[in-house]
Point group: C2
Chain length 217, copies 2
């Protein structure tokens, strides 16, 4: 099954593995699927299957060579080179994204930030000065192909358009709506509220003790 197309669900898990592997680097040279499982909470069989899509990195009886595996996963995810991104929207969420420490491990860096609110333009957060959103042009020249959108719903489509015009081909979208973009542009949407909204579905129902006891009696 070597050199198979990598399933979307596996691609979703790869960054999780990568994160855990980077943390395990200092623990030793190799890691077994069950050790990795204990860290990420994904069953070891699934992990082995995922790794099998891109060939033999494991040693039977031992486990996987951490360093080689990291390199391979980075290559597959195209994280072997660094990526620069721009942020649009320097409100509460945008500012948090700007200060988020977790991007560096994957080789991401935020190179510029924009807002359309005059009160925010010119301010500096985390060494980055907010620029006018009108200036979102020619990002291609600066080799920036990723945009992060953290503006209100009403503005997000227009911002997406500007980003695409400026050369962006990947968008991380925090606004709670669909973005219409050309097919070549990939959008990944994070919607905090919709994720929270399915939590109650999975939570156990309240026990109304009196009735519950009667029912079970």
């Amino acid at each position: 099954m070597r050199y198979h197309r990598i399933p979307a669900e596996t691609v979703r898990r790869l960054p999780v593995y990568l994160n855990a592997l980077l943390l395990s680097l200092q623990q030793g040279k190799s890691i077994s699927s069950s050790e990795l499982s204990a860290i990420v909470g994904i069953n070891p069989l699934q992990i082995r299957k995922d790794f099998s899509y891109f060939g033999g990195f494991g040693t039977r009886g031992v486990g996987y060579n951490i360093e080689k595996l990291i390199k391979k996963i980075k290559k597959i995810l195209k994280l072997d080179s660094h990526h620069q991104a721009v942020l649009v929207g320097a409100g509460n969420l945008g500012s948090a994204v700007l200060a988020y420490p977790g991007f560096a491990a994957y080789g991401f860096q935020i190179a510029a930030a924009y807002d359309s609110d005059p009160a925010k333009i010119g301010k500096t957060i985390n060494n980055i000065t907010i620029e006018d959103a009108e200036n979102i042009i020619n990002l291609k020249k600066k080799n920036i192909k990723i945009g992060i959108i953290a503006v209100p719903r009403q503005q997000s489509q227009a911002i997406a358009q500007s980003l695409v015009n400026a050369g962006v081909t990947g968008i991380l979208n925090f606004s709670p709506c669909r973005l219409a973009v050309p097919k070549r542009v990939k959008v990944i949407t994070i919607n905090i509220a919709t994720d929270l909204a399915r939590l109650p579905f999975y939570m156990p129902a309240d026990k109304k003790i009196g009735f519950a006891l009667n029912k079970r009696a």
Copy 2:
């Protein structure tokens, strides 16, 4: 196929539909699957199939009664009553969550916020005063069953433990690691960095024009 168990993937889409339906309420009485599709970007066939799991809300030739559908989806997701939640971690991300305007539409309200940093305890953000994380006790009494974790990785497991001890049965976790909790507790993890990390995989490769032309020639 009526009164079938609702698939996990459908549950994931229900909040998205709900969001769109709430926005459509003012547009008219009913909405067809293709109109809804245009808003949410999910194909109409999938939408009809999803709705079919909980019975006939549509009128053939017309569409779905928006109001009834909203009620039904809210009931399924257990969003027909309001939910109070607590936030732990008032750093950049936590503060953004505290100010996030998107929760109210689903009936969520953040009732309290905690941090363990003395510099933050006592501060007020969005009318909520940050309390000492040591005080995370007896949330059950206040009818709070949802916790939102926005603390650094190292502290997240301990906080999860406190929340569970205090009576929480649902956790929205922003820290980039797995939380070990009893089976009855549902955890949904949002990891901004891992989502961003799979963007390059889907982005088109740079064309090195010279070579590309040669190769295709």
